[in-house]
Amino acid sequence: MIEWIKYRRGLIIGIGAIILFAYWATTTYEPRVLASILLSGLTLGALYFLVTSGLSLIFGLMDVLNFAHGTLFMIGAYVGFTLYANPRLLLNTVPFVIAVVAGWLLAGWLPVKRIRTPGWLFWIGAVIVAMMAVWGFELAPLATTALSSGGRIPTEQAQAPTAIFVIRTLGLAVAGLIAGIAFLVGKEHAQQPLSAKLLVPLGMLTLALIIAPIRLSAEGWLLSLNSNTRFLLALLVGASSGAALGGLMEWSLIRPLYSRPIYQVLVTLGLVFVGTELVKAIWGPGGYFMELPEWFSRRGPGCPSPNLIAWLQDNCASIDVLGRPFPSYRVFIIALGLVMFIGTAILLQRTRLGMIIRAGVQDSEMVQALGINVRRVFTLVFALGAGLAALGGVAAAPFLGISPGLGQEFQLQAFIAVVIGGMGSFTGAALGALLVGLSRAFGDQIVLTGIQLPWMSEAMSFSPSIARASTVLIMALVLLLRPAGLFGKKE
């Protein structure tokens, strides 16, 4: 019994604290206020979960603490927003990315082994070709939306003519090819045989070229879609771009450094910097606000919806919770968080991939010795975690707005959640996120209404920054009581 208490000390302290807190909260706030605080907390908790879960999985499996996870969240938000509100920016840039990748992949089919020229010459060549291909390319008019600065530049004027666009695309494909050769020169590798696999890069290149003439009509088509469809597309595209970016990041920057773990962390910290600056360079330093899709924006007679079922019918912007309106979009965020939690849990518990991940968290070397290519699983998990974070970013965009500072804010809260929950534990990550979300919601409420201690004549109120900063104190408290976190295992 005593052993059990000792072993579960963190849990017991946690539950005790929650009971005390619940007592305080129920006696202080009336039920309807309490309900909206709790729901707000769940909303934030769901968003934090999307960042924390990936962070924790990646750390658990490959011991990499990804400081750029919040940056991926932010980039997801920007990409999703762009698809939703300004698809021409994506249509005019994504083909370039596809072309570079296609060129890179094509290098695998070339007889690189016979090349004796040193690799760095090819690198320089690739950079020069790429710079020539994008020479004079103007991003600013494409990035301008009706929302950001006065008036909108018509797409025909903002985007380059098809011929120039095609030349740029082909130029970048060549740059990718040269870079691919540079990468392979002097390495032990097998030249790819002619097979159906070759269709992948060729198909990508064709896709990039097909987009060129249809950019305008594709933009028109996307914008003519119903806002709900566009929103779903934004979630999908945002999440998958985040996943692609995460996979690329692991493959290119993290993988070469597994023997130097400190430098992995240093690289991810550098990516925070690069990611933020890149976003500023493309979308400008200012913020954007993403409009809610129709599902969550109807106002007028019959609103707020009396309950969740009624909302399915009338799509009101808010739902009545014990007599107080609560934004229906936040309910969606909570649901999204829940679905992703269950989905990830199923993936971890019920699939072979999940089994490999759980085993790898404990001993990735032994997984390798069983004949499983763990490195590939690493990349996959990195992509998965990044995708979750980016999905969270898109979901957060209509709720919190988008700005270059978004990433760091979520990174901080996710770190705190992870420290509270315990690193590498999926349940811990989820509960930590929930706790931080709830404490943020209560903190916001407290600083808003103010604190009135017995000896004070009037309540002392603060700004929301104080509530944000105070979550660090919770982290400090957990560190004092249980350094490994509530659910972490002692080392």
Binding site: A359, V361, Q362, G371, I372
Partner: protein, 235 residues
């Protein structure tokens, strides 16, 4: 004379800056049990890890049935039919017995096919099939670690100290299982418990300080008390 399945030639392996193996060589005949003996720190575990690709040798060659495998990643070596049972019973503690075994499948249905054989060798595993590996006793964990190497079709098993820290009666059980396994596969066994190694192995290699010192037939070594005392401590 049967064929040589595994051939290790003059491998040099480093861990960090430490030169652990200084030119170890050995041959394992197909269908035999070969024991790798020596004191603590002689380089036995590192030899197994080098073969498995977990600590790849910096120089020297390793061939499996004539095919060079040094320099290949560990998963590729495993896929060629090498099973590894690490020391300290490194099973996956948070996974159930079933999941531990399922993870070792290389083709769908491996486990179903081999299940009966494994369960007759280690009936305990059947009883705890859905329990987490971490909840098993030390002996059961060792059985699970060995069973895991039996799920896929492995030509060669590398087994590191299976008797370490186990009660004599469990050791008996594991020895019986190893003997049974040897009828259909080849085993390279690292063992501190000389009595056990002597009963099981056909041939032996002795390592000392990362070098070969002696090898031959186990039947001859048993009577060579001088060697046993010198390289293996009290026999």
């Amino acid at each position: 004379m049967s064929d040589v399945l595994l051939e290790v030639e003059h491998i040099h392996t480093f861990i960090g800056q430490f030169h652990i193996l200084e030119g170890v060589s050995l041959k394992v005949r197909a269908g035999s049990i070969t024991a790798l003996l020596g004191r603590n720190g002689a380089g036995k575990t590192t030899t197994l890890r080098s073969i498995m690709g977990l600590n790849p040798p910096r120089s020297g060659q390793i061939r499996l049935a004539g095919e060079p495998i040094h320099g290949k990643p560990a998963y590729a070596i495993a896929q060629l039919g090498v099973g590894y049972v690490p020391e300290h019973r490194a099973i996956f503690r948070d996974l159930t017995v079933e999941e531990n075994l399922r993870l070792a499948e290389r083709r769908r249905g491996d486990l179903r096919r081999r299940s009966d054989f494994i369960m007759t060798l280690f009936p305990d595993l059947k009883r705890f099939y859905r329990h987490p590996g971490g909840k098993l006793s030390g002996g059961q964990q060792q059985m699970l670690a060995i069973a895991r190497a039996l799920v896929a079709d492995n030509r060669l098993l590398l087994i590191d100290e299976p008797s370490e820290g186990l009660a004599p009666i469990i050791v008996e059980q594991i020895m019986a299982a190893l003997r049974q396994m040897a009828t259909e596969t080849t085993i390279l066994l690292v063992e501190q418990n000389f009595a056990m190694a002597a009963q099981l192995a056909d041939e032996y290699y002795i390592l000392d300080d990362g070098r070969n010192v002696q090898h031959g037939r186990m039947a001859d070594l048993i009577h060579d008390h001088a060697t046993i005392n010198r390289y293996l401590g009290a026999g």
